[in-house]
Amino acid sequence: MLTCDDYITPASLDEAFDAMAAHRSHYRIVAGATDTLPWAREGRAGDVHIPVLIDVTKIHELLHISVGDKRVRLGAATPIQRFLDDTNLARSLPAMPRCAVWFADDQIRAQATIGGNIVNASPAADATPCLIAHEAEVELAKKSGGKITRRRMKLDQFVTGPNRTELEEGELLVGVECDALPGCGGSFEKVGHRRSLVISLVCLATLVKLDGKGRYIEDVRLSIAGIGPKPLRLNEIENFLRRGPVSAERFNQAADMPVSLVASRTRQEYRREVVRGFVLRGLINAARAAGAKPDTLTPELEAAYA
């Protein structure tokens, strides 16, 4: 059971930093709180008393979203459900709706935030691989000497391992900026123990951009989580496929490539097998969503992995 003496809901970054300074080392930041409350239960952290909880989800800046031609900026408190409800956002981040629909359930998605998912840094986090495929950068802010200073960092460098990030004491994740990729086909593959409310054993985000004829790959991005301590971009596969034709043979060759990356603590054999099928299925689904010509993907391939 989680107990606290005070629950503070700042309306601005200044107020948040003031509360953090006033309660230095006696506070914990909460966003959606969907991880914090289950964590403070028997069998995990047990009964936990945190003197002050500071809730960042009412800070205006953290709720702001802007969608540009090149980049999308998401406030850190953006609820995951927005990726399903906001068609404008979905168009620029084509794998995110598929990711979101596998994320917990409708109710938790309305509360859980993108920033929380990143900072929590679970090796199985669903949103992080999607964002990494979009070349995401995190924006971090802190207040010192009465001034708010900011820095930026690539998301894949920010997450350093299970539940570990480069976030410093007194610093807040305020936003995420990533590539806008309208016109790409997106897919999200996930395997877990059931359909809703399930933590990924393995998940894979795939984005594919094709030429106007739907036969050549102009850009391809794959990012995978659950197979090691942190999410990974599959650069070798991307380089192999980029500026090449869409074909079943090449997708099959690509699927054989990432096997050496599997480095999770448990069930390596199983994950290795899953990854092969996932890469193939991710590529097919993303290519199809990008408008690949049907004859480029043989029926056999589709039947086996679609």
Partner: protein, 625 residues
């Protein structure tokens, strides 16, 4: 630190009240506003019994700090039938029989309401997806989905409102008709009070101290520091039992709280009643128990070995119960057989996971009657046992069965009612204990894990000549229903088949694992799993169709079972015919099929789960526009 001044509009009414900063919205709604329609099933966002609307968005109120709902408009399940008239969805749940134990139903009705508000035309796949955050253990979901589809069609005018009414009897015959359950309106509206929904003036809150050891001697228990805490009203240990301690179903081997030693992790050692939950929790952490760990045993076969740790003095061999059945001469039967196959089968422990965690409210009434209100599946037996434990005449003990929010056998054991009685007697105040999901999983019985060696001898034509089965079950630390489970497992071990030579031995064994107990089928699952799996293997070896091998051996009307029960009529052949037809079974031995089975992918066979039904619906809408 100050309390929050919490302001919101709840079910159409403005409220402004102080709230504790750590409270969850669920606590505030249930405890402070006494709106108990929405339940707590897990406290971790998994089950959805607590789902409420916050500014029109469905959320899990167990995951929501109350401060997050500051200034919002909240609808609980009570809002849906505010005037007493059920909503269309609630009526549809009533019509289709979507509510059984009812504990998940308030949350389920809310999720269904949210699904149809979001997409009034959602198809069944999309409904499934949108209800994905809510768990039901009784219905298997199909009737719930039926209800949502019915409500959708009535709301959209494609079905008349009369479709929500009960089916009429045809010349007095209700068979095959949807007869509405009379308890459903109270469940779909959230009006029904389960034990955790009940309160009494002056009620104390109970918490239980549990053993962290699987097997340990209790050297001492010091409750003095806990007793001294302001707000603590009473603490009990085994020493407070005035009568003859010990409960069970077949053997009374389990004390109300651990006596001289603990036998499994999670066993109750002491209990506290206090003015509120936090004080009770604080008191628990102030009780000082000194344990001397003992060697433990976690595998039933190891528990049978000489020199294994002994759990109960009365059973030095750790055998809770052995049930033998002997018919004919199995050795002779195997010798006569054309084919003898032996295999080993195992099943795992299973938690019942009823949506309602255990809860009980207990008080001593004006006549001195100790009254226990709890979702208890065996109140008469428990009443007799408790009278002996608390040394009172039977007329001074009363059990009231509150609505059982799912039991499946898991609420047949008196594992907490004894503590409540002792605390109510000690404090002379009403006391209430509400289990968390974790309490429920750690301390209550599981389905018996089993290991079965099965040897079967058959003739080439498929007739079974002999069956020998030895099943060893892990009964855990206490007897509970083990004897009965072993008995039924043995009785049904050879299945509904004519077998001239049968030798069955089922063993329930004590170990330091969580006790095993009653669970749907009560032992039949474990032996049937072995026997039926074995028949499939035998069919394959003999080149027979699995249905055929069962028909060849099926008991017919007038058969004598292996335990000498005469069966007037046996419906097995009809059941096999119906099953074969309904499953679209592709006739033939298991070896006769090619790579692809012809009986799959039919329209009436459910495909594996997938997500994304809402995308398909959206694409269809866009195409239509």
């Amino acid at each position: 630190m100050p309390d929050l001044q919490f302001q919101a509009t709840i079910n159409g009414r403005k409220i402004s009240r102080s709230a504790k900063p750590h409270q969850r919205l669920l606590d505030f709604i249930r405890d402070d506003l006494n709106l108990t329609g929405n339940k707590e099933g897990c406290g971790a966002g998994e089950c959805g019994t607590c789902s409420v609307f916050v500014d029109g968005t469905l959320m899990k109120s167990c995951l929501l700090p109350v401060a997050k709902a500051q200034g919002t408009t909240i609808e609980t399940v009570e809002a849906l039938a505010k005037t007493g008239e059920l909503s269309v969805l609630q009526k549809a749940f009533h019509k289709t029989g979507a509510s059984q134990c009812g504990y998940c139903i308030p949350g389920m009705v809310m999720a269904a309401t949210a699904a149809l508000r979001t997409n009034p035309f959602a198809d069944r796949e999309e409904i499934k997806e949108r209800l994905g955050g809510n768990i039901c253990r009784c219905t298997g979901y199909q009737k719930i989905f039926d209800a949502v589809e019915l409500a959708r069609d009535v709301q959209n005018g494609t079905l008349p409102a009369s479709a929500l009414m009960e089916d009429e009897a045809e010349s007095g015959d209700f068979i095959g008709k949807n007869v509405r359950r009379i308890d459903t309106p109270s469940k779909v509206s959230g009006r029904l009070k389960y034990a955790a929904d009940m309160t009494m003036p002056g009620m104390l809150h109970v918490q239980v101290l549990r053993s962290p050891y699987a097997h340990a001697r209790i050297v001492s228990i010091d409750t003095s520091a806990a007793e001294a805490i302001e707000g603590v009203a009473g603490i009990i240990t085994s020493a407070d039992v005035p009568g003859e301690d010990g409960f069970g179903v077949f053997v009374n081997d389990q004390p109300v709280m651990a006596q001289d030693k603990v036998r499994y992790v999670g066993e109750a050692v002491a209990a506290v009643a206090a003015e509120d939950l936090l004080i009770a929790k604080r008191a628990l952490s102030s009780i000082n128990v000194i344990y001397a760990p003992l060697p433990s045993v976690f595998d039933p076969e190891e528990a049978l070995c000489p020199g294994a740790p002994v759990l109960h003095d009365y059973a030095p061999d750790n055998v809770t119960k052995h049930i033998p059945i002997r018919v004919g001469d199995t050795e002779k039967g195997f010798a006569e057989s054309d084919l003898v196959i032996e295999e080993t089968y195992s099943t795992q422990p299973i938690e019942h996971a009823y949506l309602e965690p255990e809860a009980g409210l207990t008080y001593v009434d004006h006549d001195g009657v100790v009254t226990i209100v709890s979702p208890d599946q065996n109140i008469t037996h428990h009443r007799h046992m408790l009278a002996r434990i608390i040394a009172k005449p039977i007329s001074k003990v009363r059990f009231i069965m509150s609505p059982v929010g799912g039991g499946f056998g898991g609420k047949e054991d008196m594992i907490y009612q004894g503590m409540l009685a002792l605390l109510a007697m000690k404090t002379q105040r009403p006391v209430r204990l509400v289990f968390t999901r974790e309490d429920s999983i750690i301390s209550t019985a599981k389905r018996h894990p089993s290991r079965t060696v099965l040897r079967m001898g058959l003739m080439r034509d498929g007739r079974i000549r002999a069956l020998r089965m030895k099943m060893i079950c892990d009964g855990g630390a206490y007897g509970l229903s083990t004897e009965g489970v072993m008995r039924k497992a043995a009785i049904l071990a050879a299945g509904p088949y004519v077998i001239p030579n049968v030798r069955v031995d089922t063993f329930g064994i004590y170990t330091n694992n969580t006790p095993s107990g009653a669970f749907r089928s009560f032992g039949a699952l474990q032996t049937a799993f072995a026997t039926e799996s074995h028949l499939d293997i035998c069919a394959e070896r003999l080149g027979l169709d699995p249905f055929q091998i069962r028909r060849i051996n099926a008991m017919r009307d007038g058969a004598l079972t292996h335990t000498k029960a005469k069966l007037g009529s046996v419906s097995l052949m009809r059941a096999l015919d119906a099953l074969e037809k309904a499953s679209g079974w592709e006739t033939g031995a298991p070896t006769s099929r090619g790579e692809i089975r012809g009986d799959l992918d039919r329209p009436d066979i459910r495909p594996p789960c997938a997500l994304g039904a809402r995308f398909a619906a959206a694409e269809k809408r866009e195409a239509a526009e």
